[in-house]
Symmetry: C2
Amino acid sequence: MVKKVYGIGVGVGDKKLLTLKALEVLKKVDKIFVPISKEGKKSIAYEIIKDYVDGKDVEELLFPMIKDKEKLKKYWENALEKVLKEEGEVAIITIGDPTLYSTFSYVWKLLREKGVEIEIINGISSIFASASALGIPLVEGDEKLCILPQGKDLEKYINEFDTIIIMKTKNLKEKLEKIKDRDDYIVGLVKRVTFEDEKIAIGKLDELNFDEFNDYLSLAIIKRVKK
Amino acid sequence: MVKKVYGIGVGVGDKKLLTLKALEVLKKVDKIFVPISKEGKKSIAYEIIKDYVDGKDVEELLFPMIKDKEKLKKYWENALEKVLKEEGEVAIITIGDPTLYSTFSYVWKLLREKGVEIEIINGISSIFASASALGIPLVEGDEKLCILPQGKDLEKYINEFDTIIIMKTKNLKEKLEKIKDRDDYIVGLVKRVTFEDEKIAIGKLDELNFDEFNDYLSLAIIKRVKK
């Protein structure tokens, strides 16, 4: 059975945002498992690290972008089976950080249940890289922040939080529609942060063109404007 | 006047969690500014990087741990003045990430107003490193997360969020007192994550001993237990 599994966050698009520790572990493990969302499709996480791990044994794990938990379970279990049958130390990589909305967390849970030794190596998250790209801090002092996947309950929390992050949606435009009459907030949109085709925009809601930001690797940072 | 300022997140205690980019920039800049909270006290951020930057020109910036914004302003302006009078490229380092509750963000704002070229280099945040240390993901699927500095409004949001992070307080015990009767949550406490003297604890609120966690570099992760 597998000796140890490293869950490694490889950060965002800029491969220099990898940590020294992630690089060290990627170089020493016997195999690297890379997530793909569709057969034949490139792994974004692997694209970030591939220049560092030339010649390494790499195997794909399929995690399709579907919502049905019962169907997904089959894919997590397939992944578990592949990982368990290795004999040495392996890495499973993920974009961003492994603790924040990562597909890896499901396999992590299954591995834990099997008593496998696991070490998590954190990565740079898109929430921080996006704030940097926009040139604004996420939160200062005693400001409150929340992350609402798919914009859930945005119309409620818009009145209560200083900073709101909307992520995990392909349709930011629709999710932000609910607050379109608010002018006490500024909105930053970021797509594929630090990738070569990164796009950013910042302004009041009615000034923004969302067309180029309807992509799964996009997020919105909504910040209250202090009067 | 200073040519360019890098705001660099040096991550948590483990110096291997520095990014490749942070290391590259730290080695090339002409000077590194390091924050201290008191004259004569060591800079935690500098302790993380010092083995990498032997012989570099290093200067301290004093940011005392006080709350009075008017008094703090003087310190930010002193820092600004020191940075502006440099002639080359400099780095200002900060623990964690520069966009999340970082003292750097105030100097960042002043530098922006002066038209100085600024580049932010993200770092590993204690919120992710703490989840790793506890062995739990922060959020999965469509779970909502919020960060409440000093536990502000915890008694309200405990009913609405899947994961709540309480940070920026020296007194976690008092801040969590408000929810002590809840048994539908599990609480993870982490002090000085990835430092040599890291401490963690996880359990129901009434099982936890907070005594060792009343430290400014501590945080609590409160997670709803799914039935």
